[in-house]
Each structure stands twice: as C-alpha cells, then as structure tokens.
C-alpha cells in the first residue's frame, strides 16, 4: 500500500494576525481543519469584542504528564489558528490550563470548580483524566457549560443516559473503551478470512489487567467473540503491575489458543510478557492493549516484539490530512513531540469554535440556552479530524466507531489495528486495518512454527 503524501507544503505557522486573507485560506486549505470555515462564518456576522476563556484540566506533572503536555499544545495550536481567523465572531480565545496531576476524582473535581467559579470558562476542552470517574460531571451540569473530553470510558454513556437533559453539554470525543473489545473479534475474523493465518482452533485466551479499563475491554471481548466464531476458553486476572508472567503463560500454553489477548496496558509489563512468551511460544496471535502503541514497548521487548498486534480507537490516520497535521505539529513543537494526543484537543477546539460561531456566540457559566444551542450544533455538525470523522451519537453524546457501530467510515471514527513490523525502526508499527486507511498487510508472526 503506497504511503500517501500530503497534497502540498505543510501549513506555515499562523501566529501572525496580519497574515493576508488569501495566504491564510490557501494554507488552511492544505489541511482543511476548519480555520477557513470559521473565518467564513466570522466574516458574515456582526463582530463582538472581548475574550472567551476556554478551560482545560490535564496532567502537566507526575507520571501521566507525557500526554497532558501534548493536550495543552494541541489546544494552544488550535487557539492560535482560530484567533488568526478572527476568533469566535470577533472574540479572541484565551486558554486556562489547570494541572490535574494524578487525575484522581479529588483533583479533577477541584480543577473543575476552579475553572468554573474563578475563571468563568465557557467550555472545557480536555484530553483525558483516567481516575476521575465522572466526578466532575455534576459541577459542569450545574453550570451548564460545554465539556469535551476523550476519557474513552463507558462510564460516560451511563451517566449521560441517566439524564440526557442534565448532561446535555458533556461530550466524549472518542469511542468508549468497550469498543476495543467489541472490535477485536471483528478484526480477527477479517484476518482469518484473508487465509494467511489458519488457526487450529477458535479459542481466545484472555489475560485481564485489574484496572477498570482492562476489565471493560475483556468483558466486551467475551461478549462479542461468539458472534464471529470465537470462544473465550481461558481467563486470568493479573494485578497491576505484573512483571512475572510465568504462572499465567504456563496455563495459556496448556490451552494452546488461536489468540491470546492481554488487556493489561503498561508498556513495560507487556514487554516482559512478550519476552517471556517468546522464550517458549505457541502458535497463537498475541494482541496487547495500548502498550505497543508506544515505542517504549518495542524498545523494551526488542526483537521479541515483531509480529505483535495492538489497536487504538483514536489515532492519526496515515492519509493526506493526518500527515499534514503531523508535519505542522512537529514543525511547531519539535520532533520529540507526540502528535496523536495533540490532534484530539486540537480537533475538539475547532469543532467547538465552529459550533459556537454558528450558534451566534459562546455561553458563559449559567447561560443554559446559549450552551444548548452550541451542544445541538456539535451533534448536528460532523467534523473531519486528522483521526477520521468525529460525529456524536445523540443517544450518548460520544463519538461513533467504525466499523463496530457504523460501517460507513465517512460517518464514524475508524478503529485502527496495528502490527509491529520492525521493533528497531523509528516507527515500529504499521496500520493493517481497516481499509481504506491501512498502510501494510497482516503477516504471520515469526514465532509461528
């Protein structure tokens, strides 16, 4: 599969507000993330003055800060471009970022109150906070502001469905983690139908990490397996962290399953698992949750990582739009920056800005009617982001995944399956599914007899 190059030179930095309108439009058209759209709406409306405050609460310190810094960068990049395009109906956008450190319920709740009460933000455009448990939802619902995050949590669906009217302004910009589990048997079935992999049985062995994220995914795999001709023949729960995999791998070997799925997600632990598995492998595909997306997994596991499968429900696509975003992002924040987390907050901000401009302006805390209009626009207006189509399902205010919930990639966000092709390379993994985005084909892992 040829790698598609972007259609033109990368967009120049758009910091200068004096940038000519023509130059601006041509550069924005390269990527097409929405600056031109916004500029168009701005031009057709009465201009307001003043500033709009947008909040964010992400980890800027502590062990979870790696992604948090990118979340902040993505938001900053979008705001810079939006202000260059005339802001939101003339109002300049300004961000207030609060550190949610270890992302506990306590820290996230307190950050939410700070943003609403002290800063008076009109919206919170967020990355993720894994431990918050929707503790922040009620403060946001009380203030009826817009809150967009990508917590990847089924808990969002449950809280939203419990009272859609109260939580109208809270959106999750990626599919819930359970779709990882729903999607895996679908993808395995596809691989099996290609014929390169001919499993001796239809067993899936589950190794489940003991964090909720892992458990939800494992449960979803178990529930979906049968529909695609698989059965879960074995399951073992491992504590977090786990580095000694001898006991669980021995039991897995006795079972000799077609597929082993490990939903524990720490890259270091998973690398140990793969190294210990490779010492005495069985003819099983090995799927790991999340860890192998990071280069650290391949660095730690070395050659043993070759052939491993992993997936993501949100990731920059290797297409014209995705590549253009990647280039712009790296030009701005350096080669060591990770573009994927940045793309999320960047896109959420654009989507919000356009929805607010169309609604005739932003809504401050307590401005229930205006924020309702904006929320309606967010649901109505499909946004094409570097990671595919962002469309909110009105039943649960969350992104719709392709192909698990919708089989139309123009209306849903693709669930991406990767295989580690070269552990030593700068980018060890290649996208192998779904079409039309894939850049490589599935290959049988080297440990197969």
């Amino acid at each position: 599969m040829p790698k598609m190059k972007s259609g033109g030179p990368p967009a120049p930095p758009l910091a200068a507000p004096t940038l000519g309108r023509r130059a601006f439009l041509s550069s924005a058209a390269t990527a097409g993330f929405g600056a031109a759209t916004l500029a168009g709406i701005n031009a057709g409306h009465a201009q307001k003055s003043g500033t709009v405050k947008i909040g964010q609460m992400v980890s800027l310190t502590g062990p979870l800060a790696v992604d948090g810094v990118e979340h902040r960068n993505g938001l900053a990049m979008a705001i810079e471009e939006i202000n260059a395009a005339g802001g939101i109906l003339g109002m300049q956008v300004e961000s207030v970022v609060i550190d949610s450190a270890n992302q506990t319920a306590e820290e996230v709740s307190s950050a939410t109150n700070l943003l609403i009460d002290r800063e008076g933000v009109c919206a919170i455009i967020n990355g993720y906070n894994v431990g918050a448990n929707q503790a922040e939802y009620d403060a946001i619902a009380d203030a009826s502001i817009i809150y967009i995050h990508y917590n990847t949590s089924i808990g969002h669906h449950e809280v939203f469905e419990s009272d859609p009217d109260r939580y109208f302004g809270i959106f999750m910009a990626d599919p819930a983690e359970s779709y990882y589990g729903v999607g895996l048997p679908v993808m395995l079935d596809r691989i099996r139908k290609q014929g390169i992999w001919q499993p001796k049985n239809n067993k899936i062995a589950l190794i489940t990490g003991s964090l909720p994220y892992s458990i939800v995914i494992s449960n979803a795999i178990r529930d979906t397996a049968a529909q695609y001709g698989f059965e879960v023949s074995f399951e073992e729960v491992v504590p977090v962290p786990t580095t000694e995999w001898g006991a669980v791998l021995r039991k897995v070997r006795d079972d000799a399953p077609a597929v082993i799925a490990n939903t524990h997600f720490y890259p270091g632990d998973l690398a140990q698992c793969q190294v210990q598995f490779a010492q005495n492998p069985t003819d099983s595909l090995f799927y790991y949750q999340y860890g192998p997306l990071l280069k650290a997994f391949s660095d730690l596991a070395g050659e043993a990582a070759r052939g491993v499968l992993t997936s993501s429900v949100i990731g920059i696509l290797p297409d014209a739009m995705g590549n253009a975003f990647r280039e712009t992002y790296h030009a701005k924040f350096g080669d060591a920056a990770e573009a994927d987390p940045g793309a999320s907050t960047y896109s959420e901000m654009y989507h919000y800005a356009i929805a607010a401009a169309l609604a005739g302006g932003v809504g401050e805390p307590g401005n229930h009617d205006q924020n309702r209009k904006i929320a309606d626009n967010l649901r109505r207006f499909v946004y094409r982001a570097p990671f595919g189509t962002l469309r909110y399902d009105p039943r649960f205010n969350a992104a719709i995944p392709y192909p698990t919930l919708s089989n139309d990639p123009s209306l849903a966000m693709p669930h991406l399956l990767y295989q580690i092709k070269d552990p030593g390379a700068a980018n060890p993994k290649k996208l192998i599914y779904p079409e039309p985005y894939n850049e490589a084909e599935f290959e049988l892992p080297p440990w197969f007899a």
Binding site: G62, P63, S210, V237, V238, T243, A247, G268, L300
Partner: protein
C-alpha cells in the same frame, strides 16, 4: 512443579538480596528503613545512567548500583539518621523520616530523569541446558550475586573488627561510646553497606521489571514481610524466609491465580505476627515485655 521450583529459585534469590539489606540495619540498630524501596530504585537508575547514558560496558551496571546505593545510604545517614540516632523516640522518628526521604528520592527521579520506563542494561542473554529443562544465564547470575552478597555480609558481621564494633553498637550504643567506639562512623558504614546491597538488588530486580521511578515499592513490602517472618535482624532467617515466601507466592500464583500472590504474603505476615510474635525463626523478643 519444575516451573514452580525454577521460579521460586530465581525469585527467592532476588528477595534474599533485597531483604538482607533491610535486615542488617533493622537487626543492628532497630531502625526500620522505609526508604529501602527508594534505595533499590536509586541503584537501578545508577546502573541505567552509567551504562546507557555514559556508554560503559553492561557489567559495570552492578558496580554502579552498589556505588549509587552506598551514596544514598551515606546521605541518609548524614542528613537524617545521625540527627535522631540514640535519642528519644528514635524508633518511630526514623520510620517517619525515611518515609519522607523515599518520597523526595522518587519525586526527584520522576522530575529530573523522567517517568518513562527503561530497560535495565545489566543483563546477559542465553540459557544453559539442564537435562530436559533449561535455565537462563541471567537467573544463574542473579543467584550467584545474591549468594555472594549474603555470604560476604555474614562473614563481615561475624569475623571482622567492623562486625564486632557493629554488634557492640547494636547491643548498647551508650556503652559502646564509652568504650571508645566512634558510634557515628559505625552507623555510617552500616548504612553504606546496606545501601550498596539494596542498590545491587535493585539492579537485579529491574532486569525483570524494567526501570521506573516507583519500581522499589513492591520489593520494599516484600522485604518487610521477609524480615518479619525471618525474625528480627537475623540474616540467615531472612534468607530462609525469602525462599519460603517466594515459594508461597509462586504457589499461590499458579494454583489460586496470579492476583493472589501479594495478598497471600501480606495475610501470612499478619498471621505470623499475631500467632508467633517473634517471627518463625526469631530469637530476640519483639513483643512487648
């Protein structure tokens, strides 16, 4: 069963190396060092920095670990232990102080070196065959280093002048001082030895777990349990308890499920202390008189 025994052997050697370091200062000075886990982490990072960042050969890692551990042991003595040693409420004060010190060390590594996980460079590849089964060179090396450390420590304590001074200070600090023993320097030496052993065990442990800032937390708990079950300050007791508990943990993981490994150990230690407050092999009195 051979799987269980092989795992027990490797795990037991690791636990023993880490636990004797804790047992040494607990047994001699009645000092429970809750920064032990941080010592382990510092040793692991010292090896990482010397081999990965300074480009030294892989085998220097274990010496770097020892040096890093000894340095942090000396610092802990100078900044904390010497301030409260042989004073009222030493026993609880030093527990609180070392807990705080551990936070500073882990925070420092987190903020100055970074939270990312890295591979421990001190490792060798390959396996040697043993009839039908085979054992990794890494495991052989781990067992050899652990045995050497424990033996050396026992020899120093029993048969050297330093060992005799340590015992004198341990029994009665005031009397030792009156007999012309420089108590402060003895404690400093013990802290450095203990730090070095913990540092080396950190290098060995992180081969299996990879190196990250909080990597010492779990080994600290294990070492605490081992020392309690082995009996206060008894180094041979700690070694026996290390293998016993490694066996118990492995057995629980294989028979009950992986997640039961740690809880079984913790419940075991509570049970032992409630039923046999002197530890399984303890001779000295640890219960209230």
């Amino acid at each position: 069963m051979t799987d269980i025994l092989a795992t027990t052997l490797g795990l037991g050697a690791l636990y023993a190396a880490s636990a004797v370091s804790l047992a040494l200062i607990w047994g001699t000075f009645g000092m429970l060092n809750l920064a032990h886990g941080a010592f382990i982490t510092v040793g692991a990072y010292a090896s990482l920095l010397v081999v990965r960042d300074l480009g030294m050969p892989w085998w220097t890692g274990v010496f770097a670990g020892a040096a890093g551990g000894a340095t942090i042991g000396a610092l802990t003595h100078i900044l904390l232990v010497s301030r409260v040693f042989a004073r009222p409420a030493f026993e609880i004060n030093i527990i609180i102080l070392t807990m705080a010190a551990a936070t500073i060390m882990v925070d420092g590594i987190n903020n100055l070196i970074g939270p990312a996980t890295a591979r421990q460079p001190f490792s060798i590849d390959g396996r040697i065959a043993f009839g039908a089964t085979s054992i990794a060179w890494q495991t052989v090396m781990m067992i050899a280093i652990s045995v050497a450390l424990t033996a050396a420590l026992t020899l120093v304590l029993r048969h050297t002048a330093l060992g005799r001074s340590i015992n004198a200070v341990a029994q009665e600090p005031t009397a030792a001082r009156l007999n012309g023993i420089a108590v402060g320097r003895i404690v400093l030496k013990v802290m450095m030895i203990s730090g070095a052993v913990a540092g080396v065990s950190g290098v060995l442990i992180t081969h299996g777990t990879a190196v990250y800032p909080t990597v010492g937390q779990d080994p600290l708990l294990k070492a605490l349990i081992i020392c309690v079950i082995g009996g206060l300050g008894s180094i041979p007791g700690a070694v026996v308890a290390a293998f016993l508990l490694a066996f118990l943990e492995t057995l629980a993981q294989y028979e009950l499920g992986t997640k039961w490994g740690s809880p079984v150990l913790l419940i075991a230690v509570v049970a032992v202390l409630v039923l046999r407050p002197n530890g399984l092999f303890g001779t000295r009195d640890i219960a209230r008189n």
